[in-house]
């Protein structure tokens, strides 16, 4: 094939390549289109056009464990070029709706999006359409073939999705319930005149493209952390000189949390940029001001023609800087100013209107005092949709799907401030399976699961959810290393509370000094780097004399990192409960000091 070009590529060779499973993208590359076209998507479209011109289109087969010996009933389909006829027929009545799934489970995209996809399928069926799912993850509910009228167990690539759309000629395609993978396909599908249900692809792009989104915010007087897409180290230095450290650094057009980092000094910035990104004209790096000690707030909502029909505001227990997938989330919010909530609602309404949102969306906010900044906005269901839907007992996806299908809906009469219970979602981590990984939380997501629990108050709900993700209430001893001055102060009340409840406190150097100065009795223990001195923190851990470790990283100096890392890692390896965030530690300590296990009521979801 490499000896051909696009004009000399004949039908038989192209067919053979397709039968062997080569993608249009790979074929475009093989025939040298990569050099001729400015982008590979265009190159791929040229191959696609040629292929369809030759009549080389795939057929749809059923996964059939009896090799066609008996008529297969399994609604389990795949697409192949190695066939002459499809196992299913296509009615062309435009009465089906395709939902794009979330693909393989991985950190950042998991069962939450699967729930969203399944809810969309249910609503599509109830509204009298045939539901079609495209997803390729066997461990999901959406790939249970009873969940839909047709299940395509296949790739979520542009090529494959387009081929299925060509075959099925659906009424529409839903791209907003499967997370970022389908969301990223929106623009490409729209270019091919695919009927995308819900918010228009153009508006999705206006939210995804940082520059467009940013100028829209500015035009509407909405604040955001100061940022810039920069292509040289000089520019980055100039920007940082102006806004000051710390800064959040990330490659442009990646909002999922990959390769992001917070840098709090020049050294860190240089080190990170050398490690993670090659700054160049083609690959600008987005640097934004990072605001410390700010609250992070999530707005999950459903809009119809730019008007919000239902919303849920939830707050992170941790301060901004912990990825929303890792954060402990509280809904309804318990500690937000009424004014903050009012402003968030107002800004959300503005954004929904500007982006003509028609379906689910999520906006992340940062708030310090009543200063509200927009971090990002996704015109799709977010991973907190199932959580808020269950806490509020209002199925956001059902509502969103009806809106996307154009079914008339009424504004649900549900107010999050009327709830007389609290929901808290805690994250599950798998650091014990990730040997040598540093179990600290940052802007990159690292949780592998989560549990949402309801309680009559914050403490009960937090206790339930923390215990559900594997934390344990310490019996007698707690080791504290509480980071910088601000965190030390935050943890003071919690430390007092521990002492009052009969816990023995151990503390490393700075923390011990701080606690003693504040009249809190504690035992000094030494860092691993203080060789020869006793008692050593690591020894105590190994001797099982510590029941819980609170270790908050102060800064990113090598000494801090190594010492803290050794203690954190030892806690994980020895299965001692570990908390690395001062806000979460305070909340958890407050919860288990004030609520006893006997006070935790066991109630079904429906009983709240």
């Amino acid at each position: 094939m490499k000896r051909r070009n696009i004009n000399t590529l004949d039908k038989e060779l192209l067919r053979e390549a397709k039968v062997y499973g080569f993608t249009d993208f790979q074929i475009a590359r093989a025939v040298g289109l990569e050099g001729e076209e400015q982008n590979m998507h265009k190159a791929m479209l040229i191959v696609r056009q040629l292929r369809k011109g030759f009549g080389i289109v795939p057929v749809v087969k059923q996964i059939d464990t009896l090799a066609a010996e008996y008529p297969a009933q399994t609604n389990y389909l795949y697409v192949t070029y190695a066939g002459v006829a499809s196992d299913v027929s296509f009615s062309n009545d435009r009465n089906s709706v395709i939902v794009l799934g979330s693909g393989a489970y991985r950190i950042g995209s998991s069962v939450e999006f699967d729930w969203c996809g399944v809810q969309a399928l249910n609503t599509i069926r109830k509204q009298g359409y045939r539901s079609i799912m495209i997803n390729y993850n066997p461990e999901t509910v959406s790939t249970d073939y009873d969940m839909c009228d047709r299940l395509y167990f296949d790739e979520l690539t542009f090529e494959r999705v387009m081929d299925i759309i060509d075959a099925e000629t659906p009424h529409g395609v839903i791209v907003s319930t499967g997370g970022q993978i389908p969301n990223n396909l929106a623009m490409y599908l729209d270019e091919q005149n695919v009927p995308i249900l819900g918010t228009a692809a153009k508006d999705i792009d206006n939210a995804e493209d940082r520059a467009k989104f940013s100028s829209m915010l500015t035009e509407n007087g909405i604040n955001q952390p100061e940022w810039s897409a920069l292509t040289s180290m000089d520019d980055i230095d100039k920007f940082v000189d102006r806004v000051g450290f710390p800064v959040l650094v990330r490659p442009s057009y990646v909002l999922s949390g990959a390769a992001m980092n917070i840098c709090s000094n020049k050294d860190e910035l240089t080190r990170f940029l050398q490690l993670a990104a090659n700054v160049s004209e083609d690959h600008p790096v987005v640097v934004s001001k990072f605001i410390e000690h700010a609250k992070e707030i999530e707005m999950d909502a459903v809009a119809q023609n730019g008007e919000i029909m239902a919303y849920a505001i939830s707050e992170h227990i941790e301060f901004a800087g912990v990825h929303s997938g890792d954060a402990t989330i509280q809904f309804p919010p318990q500690k937000l100013y009424v004014e903050t909530v009012r402003r968030i609602k107002r800004i959300s309404r503005q954004i929904a209107k500007q982006l003509h949102i028609n379906g689910p969306f999520n906006i992340q906010y940062m708030a310090r005092d009543n200063d509200i900044l927009v971090i990002e906005c996704n015109l799709r269901a977010s991973r907190s949709f199932p959580f808020v839907s269950k806490v509020l007992k209002l199925n956001f996806i059902d509502l969103a799907t009806k809106i996307m299908l154009g079914v008339p809906v009424e504004k649900p009469n549900k107010n999050l401030f009327d709830l007389d219970y609290v929901g808290i979602k805690a994250s599950q981590f798998s650091f014990n399976r990730l040997q040598k990984a540093d179990p600290v939380l940052g802007v990159d997501m690292s949780s592998t699961g989560e549990v949402g629990c309801l309680g009559d108050d914050s403490s009960t709900a937090l206790l339930k959810s923390m215990l559900s993700v594997g934390q344990r209430i310490p019996k007698k001893t707690v080791l504290l290393s509480t980071g910088g001055a601000k965190q030390k102060a935050e943890m003071l009340d919690a430390a007092k509370m521990l002492l009052q409840h009969g816990y023995e406190l151990y503390a490393t150097g700075g923390t011990s000094k701080y606690l003693t100065e504040n009249g809190i009795e504690n035992t000094l223990v030494y860092w691993p780097s203080d060789e020869g001195k006793a008692p050593q923190a690591l020894d105590l851990l190994h001797e099982k004399k510590i029941d819980m470790v609170v270790n908050i990283p102060k800064d990113l100096t090598p000494r801090e990192l190594t010492n803290g890392y050794k203690i954190r890692r030892a806690a994980i390896d020895l299965n001692v409960p570990l908390i690395t965030n001062s806000r979460l530690a305070s909340a958890f300590i407050t919860a288990f000091c004030n609520v006893s296990m006997d006070d935790i009521d066991i109630k079904a979801w429906g009983e709240y």
């Binding site: 059939d64 090799a67 066609a68 010996e69 008996y70 190695a82 066939g83 002459v84």
Partner: protein, 324 residues
């Protein structure tokens, strides 16, 4: 997928174009066509390819196997048997499933249809593939079994002689009732059992004469059932392949079996002295019968496997046990 050397040399496929539902075929080549001293091929199921052609989805040209000595294509060429690749065998299987077994030809788009029409109906394939003379195996070994050759697979003979039995292989319609023997084994074979009434008559004669053990496989099951008064019908969906589940009647025991048949015994028409021994778990059709008193029993599936699972080779053990 494995099994093509055995299937191609299985006389039950005489006169048939064999379609493989598994897409990748040829990957392990073909074992050597060596013949043992006793005249039985070492790895194959008979002396040559019996299928008229093989149809595959994706032929693997490069083979790799410790026992492979040539490619499938080279073997087919040597035996002048056509093979075709690049066919949507899933679709072909569906067509065959819906319409039943049908006559077929391999034609090329750019060649005229000058292949003559073949006959299948009315051809007695059993007569074509059965031995024309009596052959003795393992002479003097011990108990003697008459093997009625309707198109026997080599592994049935191997299974018997490996259990220390002397095998006397006779033509399908041979009247062996006057011979000296301890038991009767009815082998597999191609086609419609209703063209084998001569064999049925001999079996009836034998059953009237003595209670000597009788075991049958596949065609053998159908012939014994006919002798027991049952009728045979054509299955809508024939049973083919290595993964056919059967249950032993009256037990919770299930077996995965190798099968190749398009006809089945109507168990409701069995005489009152008989009962069902096995049923198919997919469609409930009969998979074997047994006499209520005499050591007469059969299976519709292939306990000799080759190819396929060997879970049911106890059938041979039972037969050898009952030889007195």
């Amino acid at each position: 997928m494995m099994g093509y050397p055995e299937s191609l040399t299985d006389p039950s496929y005489a006169g048939q174009l064999l379609t493989m539902t598994f897409p990748l075929v040829g990957n392990y080549g073909v074992p050597p066509f060596t013949i043992e001293k006793n005249g039985i091929p070492t790895f194959m199921e008979s002396d040559r390819i019996y299928a008229s052609a093989i149809i595959v989805s994706d032929y693997t040209e490069e083979y790799s196997h410790w026992n492979g000595v040539e490619s499938l294509a080279s073997w087919l060429k040597r035996e002048h048997v056509p093979g075709i690749t690049g066919i949507d065998t899933r679709e072909l299987t569906k067509v065959l499933r819906e319409h039943g077994v049908m006559m077929g030809k391999i034609l090329f788009d750019d060649e005229p249809d000058n292949i003559p029409e073949a006959d299948y109906e009315g051809v007695n394939f059993v007569d074509l593939v059965s031995t024309k003379e009596i052959i003795h195996y393992n002479e003097g070994a011990g108990k003697k079994a008459i093997l009625v050759d309707c198109g026997v697979k080599a592994n049935i003979i191997r299974s018997l002689i490996n259990r220390g039995v002397e095998v006397i292989r006779v033509p399908w319609n041979y009247d062996y009732t006057g011979m000296q023997y301890d038991g009767l084994f009815l082998a597999n074979g191609p086609g419609d059992p209703d063209v084998c009434n001569d064999a049925v008559e001999v079996i009836r004669k034998q059953m009237n004469m003595s209670k000597k053990p009788i075991c049958g496989i596949c065609m053998g099951n159908q012939l014994l059932s006919k002798a027991a008064g049952a009728t045979i019908y054509k299955l809508k969906y024939g049973h083919r392949g290595h993964n056919q589940p059967v249950r032993m009647v009256g037990t919770e025991k299930c077996y995965i079996t190798s099968q190749n048949h398009g006809y089945a015994v109507d168990a409701t028409t069995l005489g009152t002295d008989w009962k069902e021994l096995f049923v198919n778990m997919n469609d409930g059709s009969n998979e074997g019968i047994c006499h209520k008193e005499n050591p007469w029993f059969t299976s519709q599936f292939h306990p000799e496997a080759c190819s396929g699972p060997v879970d049911t080779d106890f059938m041979f053990d039972k037969f050898v046990e009952t030889l007195k």
